[in-house]
């Protein structure tokens, strides 16, 4: 009876979940008026249930798009279905972005007794974007602030897309940096480049500001030929560091699920969002035998937070295993080398060193192999020089 109830509950839960996938999410198509293009997309039956689907087209390009099938059925064992749509590029589109959406709707199921639909309709869309270039010279740009690096330097990067039908011959940016009191403290200029129509390139400059930590504002004037574009971005100076305070595993029994509680401290004066921990455990051959991650966390400025990650230890024998803990935050990835002493009812985490991975500038000659090779090359040069400049002439003179 209990088993039947469980099966019924499972069926009830299963029918209460609807899922569907589509790839790619977006396709960019060049604007070539009067031409047409066929694009393939894949519908993924994540549900693994018999389902009916309908395909709809929407967006301002809807009249230019036709699909290979407007409705179809997928069986439980069918994981994906390939479809195509054809886009006829209209002759007269105004400059700017034009969009179309091919929406695949998983139709709700009909009830067994009546004809009424039950549940929700779930749909996913693959988009098609057509960009029509503006007449003349036209630049689209944004200002990104990277860093600060370990040495406190900040990189200003301006990705520029030439959206006009004429090439941009000279593109550069002048960047003014302001303090929180709105005082201009420094100015820098990026490199100058040429960007052809439709291309995307970047101008960049590194700023080594010898200024105290705190909030700053960068105001960039992008100069492209005779035109300008103003961009602004606020940024913080101060070191972005996430430190591991402790790692504990409580209530563990070998063969079960180990719950790693990783206490981390945000030593930066801003929130770190989307941070997560990843742990790789290696067997005695050095191969990765487990790789698991925590969910993502947003950690407030100058505060501590516990990240939780689970490891299924089924089939694992007691012993000492090497492991690497990665902390991923922003564009950084720090790693800590550990050892896990796994016994029947506990895991002892042994830390054996900490590596700040990103931004650690390893000098070429910090590697002993490079030093040995460099010495070898120098010896070769000396041997060659000795022979060809001195000994050879001397011996040749004697042989005469």
């Amino acid at each position: 009876m209990k088993k039947i109830s469980l099966i019924l509950l499972f069926i009830l839960l299963a029918t209460n979940v609807f899922a569907i996938g589509i790839t790619p999410g977006k396709t960019d198509v060049d604007y070539n008026p009067g031409t047409s293009r066929e694009i393939e997309f894949i519908v993924i039956n994540t549900d693994a249930q018999d389902s009916d689907f309908a395909v709809l087209i929407q967006g301002d390009l809807n009249e230019s798009i036709s699909v290979s099938e407007v409705s179809f059925k997928m069986l439980a064992g069918e994981s994906e279905k390939k479809l195509k749509y054809k886009i006829d590029i209209p002759n007269s589109l105004s400059p700017g972005l034009h969009k179309g959406e091919i929406v695949v709707v998983q139709l709700p199921k009909k009830s067994g007794t009546g004809g009424a639909f039950i549940g929700a309709a779930v749909a996913v869309a693959t988009q098609v974007h057509v960009f029509v270039l503006y007449p003349g010279k036209y630049a689209e740009a944004s200002l990104d602030v990277l860093g600060p690096d370990a040495d406190g330097s900040v990189t200003f990067v301006i990705p520029v897309t030439s959206r006009g039908d004429l090439d941009l011959v000279r593109v550069r940016a002048d960047i003014d940096i302001y303090s929180s009191l709105n005082e201009k403290i420094d100015s820098v200029t990026t490199n100058q480049i040429e960007i052809k129509s439709g291309e995307r390139k970047e101008v960049a400059v590194v700023w080594k500001g010898d200024v105290p930590p705190g909030p700053y504002r960068a105001v960039a004037t992008l100069v492209y030929d005779e035109q300008t574009l103003k961009l602004e971005r606020e940024f913080d100076l101060g070191q972005q560091v996430l430190d591991v305070s402790s790692i504990v595993v409580n209530d563990f029994s070998l063969g079960g699920i180990a719950k790693f509680e990783i206490l981390v401290e945000n030593k930066w004066n801003r929130e770190l969002s989307g941070t997560y921990a990843e742990m790789q455990i290696y067997n005695n051959k050095g191969e990765v035998m487990a790789d698991f991650k925590s969910p993502t966390y947003d950690i407030s400025a100058l505060s501590k937070s516990v990240m939780v990650a689970f490891w299924d230890s089924e089939g694992v024998k007691a012993g000492v295993y090497d492991a690497t803990l990665f902390l991923r935050y922003g564009s950084k990835s720090d790693q800590r080398e550990l050892q896990l002493d796994v016994s029947n009812n506990r895991i002892n985490v042994i830390g054996i060193g900490y590596v700040i991975s990103e931004g650690s500038s390893s000098s070429l000659f910090s590697n002993p192999i490079v030093v040995v090779l460099a010495v070898g090359i120098v010896l070769l040069i000396i041997v060659n020089a000795l022979w060809f400049i001195f000994l050879r002439k001397k011996l040749k003179g004697r042989s005469k």
Partner: protein
């Protein structure tokens, strides 16, 4: 007595010896890149980078590497990437060749029923997802979901698409 023939023989030994040594030195310090192969395309956002003789992975959205993401790695490494086109290389004593990698965007929407007209929408794809919510065919709102994020919403039709600002 050293003759001209002897001198030429020593010339030969030194030149060939030097060339062989340089060949091995360059071969030894040049990074060996194993995977992913050049032009690799996937919908899986976790990518395994396998290489030897290098300790730094450089990733950028352009082959000039004007603003690369630098990831220090002693050994092979799995990196989670957003969808898009990437150029990457590894650096040790020397730099490797530049390879191209594409993470194809995959949209996946999961909807769990929580009761009458109440649902949890979950982003099961590899991109930030925009979900339009309809109530009896009328657009009643929309939510933006990060990868693996879920939110409780009310409605009876949900349409997921790639977030425009992604």
């Amino acid at each position: 007595m050293i003759t001209n023939r002897h001198i030429l023989a020593i010339d030969f030994v030194i030149i060939v010896g030097t060339l062989i040594s340089l060949f091995f030195v360059v071969g030894y310090v040049t990074p060996l890149v194993i995977s992913p192969v050049n032009g690799y395309e996937t919908t899986n956002s976790s990518v395994l980078f396998e290489f030897n003789n290098a300790n730094l992975i450089l990733l950028d959205d352009n082959p000039s590497f004007t603003s690369p993401q630098e990831i220090f790695a002693e050994d092979n490494l799995v990196i989670n990437l957003k969808s898009g086109v990437y150029y990457w290389k590894v650096q040790g004593p020397l730099s490797s060749e530049v390879r191209k990698l594409t993470i194809v965007s995959g949209i996946a929407l999961k909807v769990k029923s929580l009761g009458e007209d109440s649902y949890e929408v979950v982003n099961a794809g590899n991109n930030v997802l925009n979900v339009d919510i309809y109530e009896n065919d009328e657009l009643s709102g929309s939510v933006v979901l990060r990868v693996d994020e879920g939110k409780e919403v009310s409605g009876n039709k949900f349409v997921g698409g790639e977030n425009e600002e992604n």
